[in-house]
């Protein structure tokens, strides 16, 4: 073999060897990706079925995963390890924007306005410390939070100033009074003020939202600004849909079962007004029409008529 032939021989060996190596490298990478995706799908399915199981009532559960997992939550889906997206648009979920942990708590709470609307899903990252500034209202709220939420703690407003917020990216402060000024606290996007009422305003740093009922107070405590904003809109749509179901039920009862004692026309009218108030997010009016609905339904019950809800 002369020199030129030797060179060609070596070029051939290098080229063929590189192709074989590249192939095995590519094969290995693809196989790893596939296995990772499979694992992520399994994690997503585990989380999805845990939540679906809890949604049948008001329950809570600590979801444990085999390893530390990054979960990014958005309004209609969650993403496991930046890879697999799991759609759960049927759920109204109030959660932090992301969790990077091997366990978190899921709590399903019924929203009743005055009839049952949905069991909302509240998710909390146990590594996020949540401080409720102590007041009579916050004590009553804290007593209603299940013990599994080990990350929630009551704190005196004065003690808060002394706290070392080294790890402030994982701290959230909830106050039920705007007189507790937290202007000195640097990480303002982790602060939330909630009106100490059954319905009112939730005030995140730059945005205000409404809440209707205690369940939404819990939702505001545990969720991020983005999550609250989006899921609140989903909940409003759901309230309108359920109200429409009761509106048509009232019309059905008017057709089938009304008599000189039992008339459903009035309830149907109030339900229609209730739906409009919810759409316009006029919470004072929502509360007023809600009370009117309750009294109409109780009136039907007293008259021994079939009730609407």
């Amino acid at each position: 073999m002369n020199k030129a032939q030797m060179q060609i021989h070596w070029i051939f060996v290098i080229a063929a060897g590189s192709i074989i190596l590249l192939f095995f490298f590519g094969f290995g990478l693809k196989y790893k990706d596939l296995e990772t995706t499979k694992l992520n799908v399994e994690i997503a399915k585990h989380i999805g079925s845990s939540v679906s199981g809890l949604k049948t009532g008001e329950q809570f559960k600590t979801v444990k995963l085999n390893e530390k997992t990054k979960i990014d939550f958005s309004c209609d889906e969650f993403k496991i390890n930046n890879d697999f997206k799991y759609d759960w648009s049927e759920n109204i979920v109030f959660s932090p924007d992301a969790i990077n942990s091997d366990k978190f708590v899921v709590w399903t709470k019924k929203v009743q306005l005055p009839y049952s609307i949905d069991n909302i899903v509240i998710i909390s990252d146990l590594s996020q410390k949540i401080y409720l500034i102590e007041s009579e209202f916050s004590r009553s709220i804290k007593s209603l939070i299940p013990d599994d939420f080990t990350n929630v703690q009551l704190i005196q407003f004065d003690d808060l100033q002394d706290l070392n917020f080294k790890d402030s990216h994982n701290v959230k402060i909830v106050s039920f009074s705007e007189s507790n000024s937290l202007n000195n606290y640097k990480n303002k996007d982790k602060m939330v003020y909630i009106d100490p009422e059954d319905y009112g305003r939730v005030h995140y740093t730059n945005e205000d939202y409404n809440f209707l009922g205690k369940s939404m107070i819990f939702a505001a405590i545990f969720s991020s600004n983005n999550s609250y904003s989006c899921s609140y809109n989903k909940l409003i749509k759901k309230i309108v849909l359920i109200t429409d179901v009761y509106y048509y039920k009232a019309r059905y009862l008017q057709d089938c079962c009304s008599n000189f004692r039992c008339s459903y026309a009035n309830v149907a009218d109030v339900l229609s007004r209730f739906s409009n108030s919810v759409k316009n997010t006029d919470i004072n009016n929502v509360n007023m029409v809600k009370n009117e609905l309750i009294s109409n339904n109780e009136d039907l019950y007293r008259k021994d008529c079939k009730v609407v809800f």
Binding site: N2, A4, Q5, I8, H9, F12, A15, A16, I19, I20, F23, G26, F27, K30, D33, L34, T37, K38, V41, A44, K45, G48, S49, S52, K55, T56, G57, Y86, S89, E90, Q112, P114, Y115, S116, I117, D118, L241, I242, D244, V245, Y246, Y247, Y248, K249, R251, Y252, L253, C256, C257, N297, E298, Y301, K306, V307, F309
Partner: protein, 152 residues
């Protein structure tokens, strides 16, 4: 042709053959990967389909409610009412047909809850489960069967 040239052509041919073999291997492996991911996606869809049989009876859109309390049964007057707004539930139910059959002591009458059937579909899967149904008009409870058909 000289012997050296012949060897060069031979080497090029071998490299070409190698590339072809690996490309084919890669294409087959890629297809296997895609099929695997599709299978996972289908399994996930199937899980969601099977979950529906437990979710629907607990949905407040259908569930019996009397004086602010909810009971484990499906209120037929709510089903009738839901029919009027069912188109808003496509994002939850998708391409499915959901119906309730009044089994006992009824006359096996089928009550449609939701229906959205695609023009073309490869296959259809059906699951059913016994439920308690409440007839508002007669004020009676019947035994029914909740049936969900999934088209894909």
């Amino acid at each position: 042709m000289r012997r050296g040239e012949l060897q060069i052509y031979e080497s090029v041919l071998v490299i070409f053959f190698f590339i072809l073999m690996f490309l084919l291997g890669f294409i087959f492996f890629n297809k296997y990967t895609v099929d695997n991911v599709k299978e996972q996606a289908l399994k996930y869809e199937e899980l969601k389909f099977q979950e529906l049989i437990a979710i629907i009876p607990s949905m407040y859109e259908f569930r019996c409610s009397f004086s602010f309390s909810d009971y484990e049964c499906i209120d037929l007057s709510k089903v009738w009412a839901f029919n009027r707004i069912s188109k808003d539930y496509f994002n939850i139910f998708g391409y499915k047909k959901i119906s309730i059959k009044d089994v006992y002591p009824g006359d096996e009458e089928e009550i449609l809850v939701y229906e959205k059937v695609p023009r073309k579909y490869k296959t259809r899967r059906i699951i059913s489960s016994p439920i308690s149904i409440y007839n508002t008009m007669e004020d009676t409870y019947h035994v029914g069967v909740l049936r969900i058909e999934w088209y894909y």
